[in-house]
């Protein structure tokens, strides 16, 4: 027997199954005599037991309310998770996306009765194309990686339509996100790794060497995962095009150049966005995201089916015979698209550029304020995020220690150990939503961690000190995985 205990206002909570008692109810359904309903199921198909919890509504509410207090959310504090663009999730988005007219709409509803959502999807397709400098858009992909998968599929369909079956490889810089090679592999492509140069960028001559008629595409993130803009982007895309390949743009970092420059103008042929990064839709603890893909004119016919088009005054779905196919059921994470649409309409042409301006300003300010003590391996051309590392840390304090020490100070840690080309990377992306005061406080914390690393390194190496969980044993977790709750064990 235990009382819940309290760590300040954080109440302890066990498994939802711990709250279960036979016969307890948390649901409420219309009265209906269901006594003989089971007879409608053939005997051998009738379920004999179902091991779900039996709790009251309050049990469930307490359970999830308490669990929520074990989480750090962006509404609570600064969340400079590099590459993830943890920007503010505007509350108006959450409100309008919950309108019943949107949520209740069934995907098989005849287009005539779904004009609101179709109009919105159509306009969003166009706005995303305009922002990126492209001709066509699909909203189908459910996340960034799904967008990559789709985009590479479009490229594949393009080559195949030209009966060019020799191209079996994709060039990817070593700084790329892991989803890039993985997405290519799912199409059966081999990955050719391009080593970054001493500035963390694509080396033109190295690229030239890799290019040949077996290369289907090059994938590129720009600004890249170091937050550094590939200044030779036009030369890169020209080289790739000259070799008969296409250029795929990973748009995870689009926040850096919104309204400032357009990938389409740089020679990128296909680009995915992460609406859950650049366009303010929530990350939700790991999704749902949305990863629309934009393409240049010649690729539009290969977009996955279906796409929304305008037919006179009406919005309808269109399918294309040459399409790469379907990449999921229905039309995408429409509920997420709604929020991105709302965000873009709020920003409008007047403010969209200010997003990039402020994001880039904030990142550069952090770099300028910390690079005297935290090493920046690739300091040139930083846009929206900056990558420090632990190479100048005293007393063997590591990146992991720094991350955990930031927790003690009230921050979500930056992305760590990525990109792989920076040893002990600490990737800080403040976004445009943070104020100078909040950024200054973060800088202060980082400097204090550095000082403590000199004077009291144990304090940093043992961090986090204030959380009720500290440094879980991940090795055992992976060696002997426990992936479900044993509901018959006594806890």
């Amino acid at each position: 027997m235990r009382y819940p205990g309290i760590k300040d206002l954080k109440l302890a909570e066990g498994s939802i199954y711990d709250r279960s008692k036979p016969g307890r109810k948390g649901y409420s359904l219309p009265l209906e005599n269901l006594e003989n309903a089971e007879n409608l199921i053939p005997e051998e198909m009738r379920r004999k037991e179902l091991d779900l919890p039996e709790v009251s509504e309050l049990d469930a509410v307490r359970h999830y309310t308490r669990l929520s207090t074990y989480n750090f959310g962006l509404d609570g504090g600064f969340y400079p998770l590099g590459s993830c663009t943890m920007k503010y999730n505007p509350k108006i988005n959450e409100k309008v996306a919950r309108l019943k007219g949107f949520t209740n709409l069934h995907p098989e509803t005849p287009e005539k009765y779904a004009q609101g959502t179709l109009k919105l999807m159509y306009e969003l397709q166009n706005m995303l194309a305009e922002i990126g400098g492209f001709a066509g858009t699909t909203l189908n992909p459910a996340a960034g990686a799904h967008g990559e998968y789709t985009g590479i599929g479009i490229i594949k369909a393009y080559h195949e339509s030209r009966k060019d079956f020799k191209r079996t490889k994709v060039i990817i810089p070593d700084s790329a996100h892991g989803t890039n090679p993985a997405s290519c592999a799912m199409h059966g492509y081999d990955v050719v790794v391009l080593k970054s140069n001493e500035k963390g960028k694509v080396c033109l001559s190295a690229l030239k060497e890799l290019l040949n008629d077996e290369i289907a595409a090059m994938m590129l993130t720009n600004p890249n995962t170091l937050g550094v803009f590939e200044s030779e982007i036009c030369e890169i895309t020209k080289l790739v095009h000259d070799a008969g390949a296409l250029v795929y743009g990973d748009g995870a970092n689009m926040n850096a150049i919104l309204g400032v420059a357009r990938p389409g103008d740089m020679g990128i042929d296909v680009l995915h966005y992460n609406l859950h990064k650049t366009f303010s839709t929530p990350h939700g603890g790991g999704g749902p995201g949305s990863g629309p893909v934009c393409v240049v004119e010649k690729l539009t016919k290969f977009l996955p089916n279906p796409v929304v088009v305008k037919n006179g005054e009406n919005y309808i779905f269109n399918e294309n015979n040459e399409s790469m196919g379907m990449v999921r059921s229905f039309y995408g994470n429409v509920g997420v698209c709604l929020k991105a649409y709302t965000y873009i309409r709020e920003m409008g042409k007047e403010h969209i550029r200010e997003i990039a301006e402020n994001a880039v300003l904030n990142a550069n300010y952090i770099k300028a304020s910390l690079s005297d003590i935290y090493n920046v391996e690739y300091p040139e051309g930083t846009l929206h995020e900056t990558v420090f590392d632990d190479s100048k840390m005293p007393n063997d304090v590591t990146t992991l220690d720094i991350a955990k020490a930031l927790i003690d100070r009230g921050y979500h840690p930056p992305t760590i150990y990525f990109p792989l080309i920076v040893h002990g990377a600490i990737m800080v992306e403040p976004t445009e939503n943070e104020s100078k005061d909040d950024i200054d406080a973060f800088i202060f914390a980082m400097r204090e961690i550095y000082e403590k690393s000199i004077n009291d390194p144990e304090n940093i190496k043992n961090a986090p000190l204030v959380t009720s969980v500290s440094r879980p044993d991940e090795t055992t977790a992976a060696r002997k995985p426990i992936l479900t709750q044993c509901t018959t064990c006594i806890s």
């Binding site: 922002i131 999921r328 229905f330």
Partner: protein
């Protein structure tokens, strides 16, 4: 701009610290020739109150959202208790990222762990991952995973009665990975796959994937399929698109599925025009290391306190890159939370009641249609809350007429099954009251004759 807090004064100070004079200088790494000279061609900015009206207008234009809805086909309208959405609005959940930092993500981690548990119990499978994008991609990844397990085999066998979007998605995903996709033919009498087709399952078969119940609402002979597959050492993959059914009917684990995937949208998520839904992915324990997607495991921290972490990451793209089991990264996190809440609140009895209520209303409706209209049962087999009827005329035209009367009558099969031009698949859930059903049947009788 209310989301941009840096004031002019602060900007000046920050530029000074950086050592430049204007924000524009920060963009100097971008080649001059691609720098935009003008504003983008986007609509003009809107205030919150204008946006609020705009979005309400768009929502109102979706007249179908208010109509009497009998459409299913992989997306189902069920009642979700209000508690769910209010807890989803807790910003600690929805404004958090993937739980990479376990010390400050135990809420998300534990909720996923419990989701994994509940889905595993529901499916009667050993393990479940932290979600896939949707049922279709889950099905496709299941086939890919099977091909990695049954490495030498060349042919994936898919029931022709699987949701057409799923088949199409599988085709896309398998295109460059699996040599052959064999689609099993439909028996026009039963609305299930032809028994004779099962002979196509052979020692070259990677897996057999079928939907339970199938796209027409019919129940395949799951034991038989499973038996034949196992005899040929092909993996059994069951796809469940209407998971409330599992409250009353046996689970994939009961008929020997090696992999069970699902679309969990019906467990507490709104239709949302088809997304976000939630793909679930469950498998036998021995296949864990071949599974796609994230997994949360239980462990202890350095002081021995029980806690949760992301685990078995060595399968994943951020470590294995092109050798990963999948490219999936962000998944449908918040939806697992919603479904976990739904399953907690409904619990074992609630889910059973929902299932039986759906079943009973389906039965009532089907019988009534057959008795009071010129429509007939299309197939002998029908199992849960979906059924297919044959109309005396083109189903799409009838559905269009029904729609004009405010009823979304079902899914006409003509689009994907041209041979089933007059067939309409109808879905009933607890949201369809008996009066609503009666009025459907009355309207249908008016249109096609009673």
């Amino acid at each position: 701009m209310r989301y941009l807090p840096v004031t002019d004064q602060e900007r000046k100070e920050m530029l000074e610290k950086i050592g430049i004079n204007s924000v524009d200088e920060l963009f100097s790494p971008i080649p001059e020739k691609v720098l935009l000279k003008n504003q983008l061609n986007l609509p003009t900015a809107m205030s919150e109150m204008e946006l609020d009206s705009l979005m309400s207008e768009l929502a109102e234009m979706n007249t179908g959202s208010k109509m009497s809805n009998f459409q299913g086909g992989g997306c189902y309208a069920h009642y979700a208790p209000a508690a769910i959405d209010q807890m989803l609005l807790r910003s600690e959940f929805y404004t958090a990222y993937t739980p990479y930092q376990p010390e400050i993500s135990q809420g998300t981690l534990q909720s996923i762990f419990e989701f994994q548990t509940m889905i595993s119990k529901l499916m009667k499978m050993d393990v479940t991952n932290a979600s896939m994008y949707d049922g279709a991609t889950a099905a496709a990844e299941a086939v890919i995973m099977a091909s990695k397990i049954n490495g030498k085999r060349k042919k994936a066998v898919i029931a022709g009665t699987v949701h057409p979007h799923y088949i199409k998605t599988i085709r896309t995903y398998a295109a460059n990975i699996i040599e052959e996709i064999e689609i099993l033919d439909i028996d026009a009498t039963t609305g299930t796959i032809k028994e004779s087709e099962l002979s196509k399952i052979d020692e070259n078969t990677i897996c057999v994937l079928f939907q339970y119940p199938n796209y027409f609402g019919s129940m395949e002979n799951v034991f038989k399929i499973s038996e034949i597959a196992k005899a040929n050492k092909a993996l059994v993959i069951a796809a469940v698109t209407e998971m409330t059914m599992l409250g009353a009917m046996i689970a994939p684990g009961d008929f020997g599925a090696d992999i069970a995937i699902g679309e969990a949208q019906s467990l507490g998520l709104a239709p949302n025009f088809g997304g976000p839904g939630l793909g679930t992915f469950s498998a036998a324990e021995k296949h864990i290391r071949k599974m796609p997607g994230r997994l949360v495991g239980k462990t202890v921290d350095k002081k021995g306190k029980e806690c949760f972490v992301l685990t078995l990451a060595a399968r994943e793209q951020h470590i294995k890159r092109e050798k990963a089991t999948s490219n999936i990264c962000s998944n449908q996190g918040l939806m697992t939370l919603a479904v976990g809440m739904y399953l907690s609140i409904m619990g074992k009895n609630g889910l059973k009641d929902v299932a039986l209520m759906n079943l009973k209303r389906k039965e009532y409706m089907l019988n009534k249609i057959v008795a009071e209209t010129k429509a007939v049962k299309a197939f002998s087999a029908s199992s849960y809350n979906e059924f297919t009827i044959l109309l005396p005329q083109n189903a799409k035209q009838v559905a269009d007429k029904m729609a004009e009367k405010g009823i979304l009558a079902g899914i006409s099969l003509s689009k994907y099954f041209p041979e089933l031009n007059n067939a309409l698949t109808v879905t009933v859930t607890e949201l369809n009251s008996y009066e609503e059903i009666d009025s459907y049947v009355k309207t249908l009788a008016e249109i096609i004759g009673g």
